[in-house]
C-alpha cells in the first residue's frame, strides 16, 4: 500500500473518532436490516424464497434433489443470458437479439462442423469451429454496439433489426444448406467428446453415495446460521470498548451444553425431546452471555406501558392464534367431506364457521370505523348482510330437493373439503396472528425495549407451540422432517434476538469496524449454508437409495451459470469496467465528460451480451445435438423480465447481476413448479405476468420504505 493510502486511512480513523462526538444531523443511521433492504436484489430474494416455499409445500417432487436439478437446469440457460442482459440494462441499453442469438450461434456451429459436400458445411474440427463461432458472436455484439453508438438510435430499434436479420439468416441458411429447418447432429464433428464434457456433462447423484452427508449438512447449516445471527448482532449492537471477559465462561458453558445436547440428539437419532430442550437452553444461555461479553449494556430499562393500539395488536394476535388452534381441532385433517355436507350434517361446525365469518366482518367494521372510513363501514356492514344471506342460501342448498337445481359458482364453493377449509383457515389465522404480534413488537420497540422483548419471546413460544401442534396433527412426512426443525430454529433465533436486545444497547451510529467484521462473518455464514445445501443436493446415502429416491442429474450448465453470475457480480462491483457500466447507464454525458470512454464501454457491454448468448447456444447445441431454426427466438423478453424482477431499473444506472440471476431462478421455479403441482402449464404465463408486476411494485416499495428517513 502506498504512503497516501496509509495517510488516508489514518485520517479516516481520526475522522471516525471525531464523528462519534458530533454527529451530522443530516445523516441518519441505518440499521443492518434497513441496509439489507436497500439492496436491489432483496425483493427478488424474498420472492424466490417465498415461491420455493410455496411449491415445496404444494408439490411432492419440487423440493427433492431431482426436482431441484430440473428447475436449476431451466434456470441456468435463462440465468446466463439474464445476467449479461442485466449488465447491459445497467449500462442503459437493451438487446432484443440476444434470444435469436442463442439459436444462431448453435446453428452456425453445426453448419461449420457438418460435412455436406458442395453446397456448404465446412466440415471443420470443433476445436476450430467453436472459437470461430465465438468470434462471430462477438462481432455481432460489436456491430450492435457500434451501430447504436454511431447512429444514436435507440438500441431497442437497432437490436430489433438484428433480431429479425438473425431469425431470417438462421432459416435461410438452414434451408439453403441442408434443406431442413432442423439443423442437426453436432455429435458427428471431430472433438465432440471433449466439448460435450465442457458444455453438457452431468453429475448423476445416485452414483455418488456419501454416508456422512446428513451430518455434514446439519453441522454446516447450523454453523452458518449461527455465524449469520452473530454477524447480525455485531451490526446491530454497540460494541464494548473492552470486552467483559467475566461472561466468557458462561458463553462456553452454554455452547458446551448446546453441543452436548446436539451430539446426544444425533446419537439417539433425534428421538428424545429432552435433548432438544437442552440444545435450545444452551444456545440461549450462550447467546445471552455473548451479548453481555461483547456489547455495551443497556443503561436505563425505561419501562413504559405499551399503548392501547399495541395492546390491541398483541391481544388480537394471540386471539387469532388461539382461534387457529380451535379451528384445527374442530375440523378433521383427513376428511374429504364437502362444505355442503358439513353445513347439512354438522350443526356445530356450521355454527362455528358462521361465528368466525361474523367475527371477521365485525373486526373489519371496527377497523373501518376506527380509521374513519364511513363508506368502508357501510360497505363492511353490507358485506355482513351478504354473508348472512349466502349462509342462508347454502343451508337451503343443502336441502335435498333444492340440491337438484345446480348453481355452478356456489357448487364449486361448496366442494371445498373439510381438510381444505381446515388448512386454509389454520394457515391464514396463524399468519394473521404472527404478523399482528410482530407489528405490535415493532411498535412497542419505539417506546419500551422490555415490552418488545417480551412480545418477541411470546412470538417465539407461539411458533414453538404451533410447530408441535401441527407436527402432532399432520400426516405429512415432509413437514415432520423439515419444516418442524426450521420453525424451532426460527423460534430460537427470535428468542435469542429478544434476549440480547434486552441486555445490550442498540447501535444508532455507524461503526465501520463492526460493520466490516459483521459483513465478513455474514459472508462466511452464507457460504457455509450454501455449502450445506450443495452437499445435500449432490450426494445420496445408502438409506435413500434403499428408499428408492429417483435419480437426479445435475448438468454442468449450472456451474456455468454460477461462474457467469459470479464474474458479472465481481466485474460490476470491483472493476473499472463495472464502474463505467453504472456511469454510462446513470448519466452518459457526465461519464463522457469526466473521461469515461462511454461508446467503447457500451460496445463492450453489447459484446458481453453476445458472448453470454453464445455460451447458451453452445449449452443448447451440446445438450440437444439437433437444433430447430427457431431456437431461442422470442426468449429475449424473458431475459429482460428476469432482469427486471431482479431489481434492475429499466432506465439503466441501477441494478444487480445477482438480482437478475435470482430473477431467472424465480421464473424457472414457477415454470417448473406449476407442472409439478399438476396444474395446466399454460397458466405459467399468468403467473409470470403477476410476478413481474409484483416484483417491480415490491422493489419500488421496499426501496422507498428503506430509504425513507427513520424516525
Amino acid at each position: 500500500m502506498s504512503d497516501t493510502a496509509v495517510e488516508a486511512s489514518a485520517s479516516g480513523a481520526a475522522d471516525g473518532a471525531v464523528d462519534t462526538a458530533g454527529t451530522d444531523e443530516r445523516l441518519t443511521f441505518r440499521g443492518p436490516f434497513q441496509r439489507l433492504l436497500t439492496q436491489p436484489e432483496i425483493g427478488a430474494l424474498i420472492g424466490a424464497i417465498a415461491i420455493w416455499g410455496f411449491f415445496w409445500a404444494v408439490t411432492r417432487p419440487f423440493g427433492t434433489a431431482g426436482g431441484t436439478a430440473n428447475w436449476l437446469d431451466v434456470a441456468a440457460t435463462l440465468g446466463i443470458t439474464a445476467v449479461v442482459v442485466a449488465m447491459l440494462m445497467i449500462g442503459g441499453e437493451f438487446d432484443l437479439s440476444a434470444g435469436a442469438m442463442t439459436g444462431a450461434t448453435g446453428i452456425m456451429l453445426i453448419l461449420l462442423v457438418k460435412d455436406i459436400g458442395e453446397l456448404g458445411g465446412l466440415g471443420l474440427n470443433l476445436f476450430v469451429a467453436i472459437p470461430l463461432s465465438f468470434i462471430v458472436a462477438l462481432a455481432i455484439g460489436w456491430f450492435n454496439g457500434t451501430v447504436v453508438e454511431k447512429t444514436s438510435l435507440p438500441s431497442f430499434i437497432v437490436t430489433l433489426g438484428t433480431f429479425f436479420a438473425l431469425k431470417g439468416v438462421k432459416l435461410g441458411f438452414a434451408k439453403l444448406l441442408i434443406d431442413n429447418i432442423q439443423v442437426g447432429r453436432v455429435d458427428e464433428g471431430t472433438g465432440y467428446e471433449f466439448w460435450r464434457r465442457v458444455f453438457a456433462s452431468t453429475w448423476a447423484r445416485n452414483d455418488h453415495q456419501f454416508e456422512g452427508r446428513d451430518v455434514v449438512y446439519n453441522q454446516l447449516l447450523l454453523l452458518g446460521v449461527v455465524l449469520f445471527v452473530l454477524a447480525f448482532f455485531d451490526m446491530a449492537f454497540v460494541h464494548r470498548r473492552r470486552s467483559d471477559t467475566r461472561w466468557l465462561p458462561v458463553v462456553f458453558g452454554g455452547a458446551a451444553l448446546a453441543v452436548a445436547g446436539y451430539v446426544l440428539l444425533h446419537v439417539r437419532n433425534g428421538g428424545d425431546m429432552f435433548f432438544g430442550v437442552l440444545v435450545g437452553a444452551g444456545v440461549i444461555v450462550a447467546v445471552g452471555a455473548w451479548g453481555k461479553y461483547r456489547y455495551e449494556p443497556r443503561t436505563s430499562s425505561d419501562l413504559i406501558r405499551p399503548s392501547v393500539a399495541i395492546q390491541t395488536l398483541i391481544g388480537g394476535g394471540v386471539v387469532s392464534l388461539v382461534i387457529a388452534v380451535i379451528t384445527a381441532i374442530i375440523f378433521d385433517a383427513e376428511s374429504s367431506v364437502s362444505l355442503r355436507e358439513i353445513i347439512a350434517d354438522d350443526p356445530l361446525k356450521a355454527i362455528y364457521l358462521t361465528v368466525l365469518a361474523a367475527v371477521a366482518v365485525a373486526l373489519g367494521a371496527l377497523w373501518a370505523s376506527r380509521s374513519g372510513h364511513r363508506t368502508a363501514l357501510v360497505r363492511t356492514l353490507s358485506a355482513l348482510a351478504v354473508i348472512g344471506v349466502l349462509i342462508a342460501i347454502l343451508l337451503l342448498l343443502s336441502d335435498e330437493t333444492v340440491r337438484e337445481a345446480r348453481i355452478d359458482f356456489l357448487t364449486s364453493l361448496l366442494l371445498f373439503t373439510e381438510q381444505g377449509i381446515r388448512a386454509i383457515l389454520f394457515v391464514g389465522l396463524v399468519a394473521i396472528g404472527l404478523i399482528a404480534m410482530a407489528m405490535g413488537a415493532v411498535r412497542a420497540g419505539a417506546t419500551s425495549i422490555p415490552v418488545r422483548s417480551f412480545v418477541q419471546s411470546s412470538i417465539a413460544l407461539a411458533v414453538v407451540a404451533i410447530a408441535f401442534f401441527v407436527q402432532n396433527q399432520s400426516a405429512s412426512r415432509k413437514f415432520r422432517a423439515e419444516l418442524f426443525t426450521v420453525m424451532l430454529l426460527l423460534a430460537l433465533v427470535v428468542f435469542c434476538w429478544s434476549i440480547v436486545s434486552l441486555l445490550a444497547a442498540e447501535r444508532s451510529a455507524p461503526d465501520a469496524k463492526a460493520d466490516r467484521i459483521g459483513r465478513l462473518t455474514m459472508t462466511v455464514g452464507v457460504v457455509l449454508i450454501v455449502l450445506a445445501v450443495v452437499v445435500r443436493l449432490l450426494f445420496t446415502t445408502t438409506a435413500e437409495i434403499e428408499d428408492g429416491v429417483p435419480p437426479a442429474l445435475f448438468s454442468v450448465r449450472i456451474v456455468w451459470f454460477i461462474a457467469v453470475t459470479a464474474a458479472a457480480v465481481w466485474a460490476l462491483a470491483r472493476t473499472k469496467f463495472g464502474n463505467w457500466t453504472f456511469a454510462v447507464g446513470g448519466n452518459k454525458e457526465a461519464a463522457r465528460q469526466v473521461g469515461v470512454p462511454a461508446a467503447r464501454t457500451k460496445t463492450q457491454l453489447f459484446m458481453v451480451v453476445s458472448a453470454g448468448a453464445w455460451l447458451v447456444g453452445m449449452l443448447l447445441t451440446f445438450r440437444l445435438t439437433t437444433l430447430q431454426a427457431s431456437t431461442g427466438d422470442g426468449n429475449e423478453f424473458e431475459y429482460i423480465i428476469a432482469a427486471v424482477v431482479g431489481g434492475n431499473l429499466l432506465t439503466g444506472g441501477y441494478g444487480s447481476a445477482l438480482g437478475a440471476a435470482i430473477g431467472a431462478l424465480i421464473m424457472a421455479m414457477s415454470g417448473q413448479g406449476i407442472p409439478f403441482a399438476g396444474w395446466n402449464s399454460d397458466w405459467r404465463f399468468v403467473f409470470l405476468g403477476g410476478i413481474l408486476l409484483l416484483a417491480v411494485i415490491a422493489n419500488n416499495f421496499i426501496r422507498s420504505r428503506a430509504e425513507a428517513v427513520r424516525k
Binding site: M1, T4, A5, G12, D24, T575, F582, N587, V596
Partner: protein, 261 residues
C-alpha cells in the same frame, strides 16, 4: 509561455456561428475569467477547451504545442480538468465512485485488476475534507448530497485531477453567498498552488476579486481580452452588459422607481 492559449478560435453549428475569433490565454498561477451573459458562447468555449467539442478554425495551444482534443480524456491526460455547469455527476453512484470516475486507481494484474477501494475512498474523503466538506460516508449516493456539496465534490475532483489547468464553468451560479465565498477562496488557493485557472461566470462581482485576466464574450464574439491593470470593476460590468444597453436600462429603472413613489 502560456499554459494554455487559444488564437482566433471559431466554432460553427451548421450555419450558426457559436464562437468567432476568440483569443485568450492562461498562465501558471494566474486566473483568467471568461465573462458573458446567457447565450454568449461561454459553454461552447469551455467544451472546446475540455475536449467535448472540437474547434473549426484557429489555433489551440497547450504549453506551446498545437492540440486538437477528440475526447475529454485527451484533455484530462494533458492535465486540463473541468468542473462542468451540470457538474457531470452520476446521481445514483456513490461519492467516491463519482470522484474517481474515469480515472479509477487499480491494483492487481489483468484480468484480475480491481479498483483499489481503500485508497480511492481514503483520498476522496481527504480531498473533500480540504474543500471543507466532511463526507462521513463516501458510499452515500451523490444524489443525496445538497447542491453545494455536489459542487464541492466536482471541484475537489477537478482540482485533484487537473494537474495544470482547472476550468470552472459557472461554479457559483447555483450557490448561496457563503458557499460562493468557499468556491472563490478555492480558486485563489488553486492559483497559489501554481495552477492555471479559467473561471467562467456571468457575475463580475465574483470575477473581479480573483481574476488576473478578463475576456468578455458577447453573442459569440470577444469584446476584448484585458489584463487586470487595464480596467476596473465598473468598466468590466459595463463591458459585460454591452455598455450603452446597461446605461439605458438604468435610466428606465430609475424612471419606473420614481413613478411608483
Amino acid at each position: 509561455m502560456s499554459l494554455l492559449e487559444v488564437k482566433n478560435i471559431s466554432k460553427f453549428y451548421g450555419n450558426i456561428i457559436a464562437l468567432k475569433d476568440i483569443t485568450t490565454s492562461v498562465e501558471a498561477g494566474r486566473v483568467t475569467c471568461v465573462l458573458g451573459d446567457n447565450g454568449a458562447g461561454k459553454s461552447t468555449f469551455i467544451k472546446i477547451l475540455s475536449g467535448v467539442h472540437q474547434h473549426d478554425e484557429g489555433q489551440f495551444l497547450v504549453e506551446g504545442q498545437p492540440v486538437r482534443f477528440t475526447s475529454p480524456r485527451d484533455a484530462l491526460d494533458r492535465g486540463i480538468a473541468t468542473v462542468y455547469q451540470d457538474l457531470a455527476m452520476v446521481p445514483l453512484m456513490s461519492v467516491w465512485r463519482n470522484f474517481w470516475l474515469g480515472s479509477e486507481p487499480t491494483v492487481g494484474v489483468w484480468p484480475f485488476k480491481v479498483v483499489d477501494q481503500t485508497t480511492a475512498k481514503g483520498i476522496a474523503v481527504d480531498e473533500l475534507g480540504k474543500m471543507g466538506i466532511d463526507i462521513r460516508d463516501p458510499d452515500q449516493p451523490v444524489g443525496t448530497l445538497s447542491g453545494g456539496e455536489r459542487q464541492s465534490v466536482a471541484i475537489a475532483r477537478a482540482a485533484y485531477f487537473g494537474a495544470k489547468v482547472l476550468i470552472l464553468d459557472e461554479p457559483t451560479s447555483a450557490l448561496g453567498v457563503k458557499q460562493s465565498g468557499v468556491v472563490l477562496r478555492y480558486i485563489v488557493e488553486a492559483r497559489r498552488r501554481g495552477l492555471g485557472v479559467i473561471f467562467i461566470t456571468h457575475n463580475p462581482n465574483h470575477a473581479w476579486p480573483v481574476g488576473d485576466r478578463f475576456m468578455i464574450l458577447n453573442r459569440g464574439r470577444s469584446m476584448g481580452d484585458f489584463d487586470k491593470s487595464e480596467l476596473d470593476l465598473t468598466e468590466l460590468t459595463r463591458l459585460m452588459a454591452g455598455g450603452a444597453e446597461l446605461a439605458q436600462l438604468q435610466d428606465e429603472l430609475a424612471e419606473a422607481m420614481e413613478s411608483t413613489d
